[in-house]
Symmetry: C2
Subunit: 144 residues, 2 copies
């Protein structure tokens, strides 16, 4: 299993909107960079819009960031594109046998552990912003 690429595509989209801020970032333009279908981009942009990370309007070409780059964490993007639900990174099997000591308690024992692991992962995402991403891209671009 793997977390949907909607997350990496969401980051790509936002970074490109920023880098292309002097131009107009249509879904077709963004799709050309991501290398996918414009409808896929519009779907993801719709999610970013619901999360108030981006401004887009029907009929008007182009998407813009709704916040400062440094105010958008990767966790914000992650939540926006809905790739992992709260406490559901891991699946705990359901209906274990309540007649058995292990079956009776396994869910309650495991759940906080899985939640802690998920939160540790998400903490890393909270610690980074799109500004970090864009700066890194800019650095790599200079070197090349």
């Amino acid at each position: 299993m793997s977390i949907s690429s909607r997350f990496s595509v969401g980051i790509h989209i936002l970074a490109l909107i920023e880098i292309n801020k002097s131009g107009i970032s249509t879904s077709e333009f963004l799709a050309g960079s991501v290398n996918t279908n414009p409808a896929v981009i519009r779907k993801i942009i719709g999610m970013l819009k619901n999360a108030k990370l981006v401004k887009v309007r029907p009929g008007i070409a182009g998407a813009e960031l709704a916040k400062e780059l440094s105010d958008i964490t990767l966790f914000d993007v992650y939540k926006a594109v809905n790739v992992v639900q709260e406490k559901e990174l891991f699946t705990v099997h359901d209906n274990p046998n309540p007649e058995c000591p292990v079956g009776r308690h396994i869910q309650n024992t495991i759940e906080p552990i899985f939640t802690a692991a998920q939160l540790a992962m998400e903490k890393v995402l909270r610690s980074l912003t799109l500004e970090d991403v864009v700066k890194d891209i800019a650095t790599k671009e200079k070197i090349c």
Copy 2:
């Protein structure tokens, strides 16, 4: 997306083998506690065996732990049941456009971030052993 329940089932199996150590833990017995099909249990036990966490032999009823409880971390189980590959918790979209500054660098920029997030999650799993799980179950059992 969610990580396969093979992981929680694997933990369940190992904990139950320990708690039932005076008895014989056949795949049918374990399946009764997990509440699934014995063939599912045998599949997972096969993975735990490959990882040398468990001893089982064809034709001979029952599985036994191959290590001390405190020597089996949840990370060991997680790797054994193969639920997430190294560096592949997240998916990075492929074939971004190399003609675009963002498309050109996004993969190299994102990859270490995703890896760091995954490692943070896995660090939590490394910090806990089956002994912790079994002790927690025992405590809960006393309270009830």
